[in-house]
């Protein structure tokens, strides 16, 4: 770490330094306001009545706090013809995300273990092909995937969505585990082979116990990806199986009835809560996943 604050030129006066410091904090504070403002507006709007929204100020605190909008958003808002709120769709997302995360993480761990520690001829080519697969715009697979899900008999179902998320998630999960396992000396695998352990035994007894940090990173990454997905959700689901992002979009863009902004905001916050929660609780791992996903190495 570098400490540039120690290097202020000698000539600068003490008051000059203090003023500079204040300007710095002011700038940081203003940026913080920029990032926080939409969240603040969402929360306050969701706690206002429709009447107050129409007459009041965008950034004013609610005169009277009401949770009606939250109740409606959770169990009464209309996503089209149905008016059940986001609740069923929230659970759809949970049902998609949990197996999707678990399966893609497990596959990624095994694949990464092979690519990093059990090199065979062609393994690097296979890994590169999988890696390139992470970067395709998914539009290019939407049409054939829709037909394939139909052929497999899982079109419009939750298992179908899990399948899609697993397929297009293993590239990244493999990358995460591969980069983690590559830093573990191959002598460890050799020692275990001499000790008589086989492929699965070495994975289970030696690598898996070492893997907690990368499992956390991968799980968070995959959970965020799957929970926040909209493209697959809107393309491959039907009325009863939509994930919460699709439901939120339908609520916000439904043209029937009075526009209830407070309900929209409450629904948006509900849809955002799980990933926000993960971010607040495990931000360090979240950032590590983001940077690992972008800086290959």
């Amino acid at each position: 770490m570098t400490d540039l604050s120690m290097s202020r030129p000698q000539g600068q006066s003490r008051t000059g330094k203090i003023i500079l410091r204040w300007v710095l904090y002011l700038a940081l504070g203003l940026f913080a306001l920029f990032y926080l403002m939409p969240l603040f507006v969402m929360i306050t709007t969701s706690l206002k009545s429709l009447e107050e929204i129409r007459t009041g100020d965008l950034i004013a605190l609610p005169r009277e706090v009401t949770f009606d909008a939250w109740r409606t958003a959770w169990s009464g808002a209309c996503t089209g013809v149905q008016c059940e709120g986001v609740r069923p769709y929230f659970w759809n997302s949970v049902l998609i995300a949990i197996p999707g995360v678990a399966i893609s993480t497990l596959l990624g761990a095994m694949n990464g273990y092979v690519v990093a520690q059990w090199q065979f001829r062609g393994a690097n080519v296979i890994f590169s092909l999988m890696l390139f697969g992470c970067f395709i715009p998914f539009q290019v697979v939407l049409l054939p995937m829709a037909r394939m899900l139909g052929i497999m008999g899982i079109a419009g179902t939750i298992p179908g969505l899990i399948f899609v998320h697993v397929i297009y998630g293993i590239g990244f999960t493999t990358l995460f585990f591969r980069n983690y396992y590559v830093s573990i000396p191959s002598e460890l695998t050799k020692a275990a082979k001499v000790d008589g352990a086989g492929f699965f035994r070495i994975f289970w007894s030696i690598f898996l116990p070492l893997s907690l940090p990368i499992i956390v990173v991968t799980v968070i990454w995959q959970f965020t990806q799957i929970w926040n997905d909209f493209l697959f959700g809107v393309s491959f689901s039907q009325a009863g199986t939509q994930p919460v992002t699709v439901a939120l979009n339908n609520i916000v863009n439904s043209t029937t009835g009075v526009k209830e902004y407070n309900v929209d905001m409450a629904a948006a916050i509900i849809a955002a809560l799980p990933t926000l929660f993960v971010y607040v609780v495990a931000g360090k791992y979240f950032i590590r996943g983001l940077t690992a996903g972008s800086v290959k190495g």
Partner: protein, 290 residues
């Protein structure tokens, strides 16, 4: 037999994922490429007819708008997010006591779904009750801020929301880069009496070239794939003023029933992505093999 199994277990473990990637990535790309060369409409047809779909695509004013928008959106989004991210990173690099908290605030939008981001900004920017109404309420009766419903300006609301969502992430990348610069070089510069701003411009920032490249790749990738944000914020409108290739493709595939157009526009998107990502990944993989 056990000997064979012992030797081939790694291959057997990797095989299902590899086969899946072959079919569902490369096979599907091939399928889309094939269909983009046919006269497919509501249903796919498999007789190759040449580049007819691409001709239709580039004759379409809507696709023209989508490409234009991608260009405007891509450049503004990438440039502003990079500059903002770099500025924030440098500001945060000055021994800020509350750095952890501030970083958390700058980065949290990255955890949100684009749909949530779109919904929030749609509300803030809506002229009737949002920022415009608020400023008018303060007494500036003639204030107008109607970008969201103005076909000329709507694309910039998408730029704004996308920057809000992603600039914190660029900051995190750059901050990590600033911290990874060899401390001894900086100490040497300090001993030489070089002022702080010169240390940044002459030593630290040039040494972060790989991180600029990474940030550029990630942001351009995000820009080309942008779909959810447009759907949630403007729905591609007003009219199709904010269409991007991704929304064009989706509209053709799922509401207009024009598979040929959907396939050809998807292929163009993929080519753009690959033109950016492939050289990068290739060089990364090569340098790692050494």
């Amino acid at each position: 037999m056990t000997k064979w199994l012992e030797e081939n277990t790694p291959k057997l473990v990797l095989a299902p994922s590899f086969i899946a990637v072959l079919i569902f990535v490369y096979g599907f790309i091939a399928w889309t490429a094939w269909v983009s060369l046919t006269r497919s409409r509501l249903l796919p047809r498999y007789d190759i007819e040449g580049f007819i779909q691409y001709e239709r695509l580039f004759a379409s004013p809507r696709w023209d708008t989508a490409l234009n928008n991608l260009f405007i959106f891509g450049i503004l989004f990438i440039v502003i997010a990079m500059v903002l991210g770099l500025v924030l990173a440098i500001l945060l690099d000055q021994n800020i006591r509350t750095e952890g908290a501030i970083r958390t605030i700058y980065l949290y939008p990255m955890a949100l779904s684009m749909i949530v981001t779109g919904t929030a900004w749609k509300w803030i920017l809506n002229p009737g009750l949002g920022v415009e109404a608020m400023v008018r309420g303060w007494g500036f009766e003639s204030f107008t801020f109607d970008w969201l419903v103005n076909p000329e300006m709507a694309i910039y609301t998408i730029v704004l929301a996308a920057i809000w969502q992603s600039s914190g992430f660029v900051m995190a990348l750059f901050l990590a880069g600033l911290r990874s610069v060899d401390g001894e070089i900086i100490k040497a510069a300090q001993v030489d009496g070089i002022p702080t701003w010169r240390i940044y411009t002459a030593i630290i920032i040039p040494s972060m070239a790989p991180i600029f490249l990474s940030a550029f790749i990630v942001l351009s990738h995000l820009a080309i794939k942008s779909f959810d944000l447009v759907i949630a914020l403007t729905g591609g409108g007003p009219g199709y003023a904010t269409d991007l290739p991704a929304t064009y493709m989706y509209a053709m595939a799922f509401s207009r029933g024009d598979i040929g157009q959907a396939a050809s526009s998807a292929m163009i998107m993929m080519m753009v992505v690959f033109a950016i990502v492939v050289p990068y990944l290739y060089s990364e993989l090569r340098s790692k093999d050494d």
